[in-house]
Subunit: 142 residues, 2 copies
Amino acid sequence: MVLVDDRQLTEELHDYLFALRTQVHAELKDLAREAGLTDTQTDALWRLSRGREMTAGRLAELLQCDASTATSMIDRLEKRGLVRRVPHPVDRRAKVIQLTPEGCALRDRVIEHTTEHSPFARLDHESRLRLRTLLREAMDRS
Amino acid sequence: MVLVDDRQLTEELHDYLFALRTQVHAELKDLAREAGLTDTQTDALWRLSRGREMTAGRLAELLQCDASTATSMIDRLEKRGLVRRVPHPVDRRAKVIQLTPEGCALRDRVIEHTTEHSPFARLDHESRLRLRTLLREAMDRS
DNA sequence: TATTGTTATACTCTATAACTATA
DNA sequence: TATAGTTATAGAGTATAACAATA
């Protein structure tokens, strides 16, 4: 039983797509400001934190940006002493990006702050489970 | 009955928060490339399209950016002939931002393309309804 | 030859501060 | 005085193309 027009619903979800971008931007910006970072840098820090260490190429892949963009981002993070480039153990072309102790400390603060001021705190447990399921489904591009 | 650790679930949702940013960025970038725009410009066009016309200040508010940022964005869109600044009917300080016919045409193409290649197309109707409800709840900052 | 990463370049996005015109 | 918008400035994010070193 379809009570809502399908095309209208899809269009409405696209409103959310755009709003989501703005909202997520804003949430990350708040997080970032707290830590003295930009939202993109916070994103990068989070990735490095979750996956521990990785090559520059892998980071670019996760952030879905060009390799050259990753290079300049890493440059800025390195200049701030948050990450460091170390040689790859077997591939001498590649470089492994690591969080420094300062980077780890900042990451910890970001995680703590995120957990405290979560935009998902409004939802109850069941809702969060459902949201996870739906997001997984919608975001899966494969 | 809680089968999943709550803290872990919240952390996982934050992974999605970051991933979502990247994903939504990417979706908008694809959309934009199609139309020869940046993702932010696509966003602006969409807002102008949905709300018809509005002041520069209102646009900045919707995009959650500074007024000066909106100014330069409008500059670029105007230079491309997609929007135009017209005097506000009663407040002579304010300017109303309008889509030009070219802007409208581009907006139509973007909407059509979005509907066709929707990231939400993967979800069935019921799932989309549930997603809408959850997003509304989670995104409501008031 | 193909891949990893960097550099040079050019644009867009972004906020802050100082400003103009109007309310 | 306060508000709407602009300008000047500076830094960050972004991709393209050309390049070096290595696989």
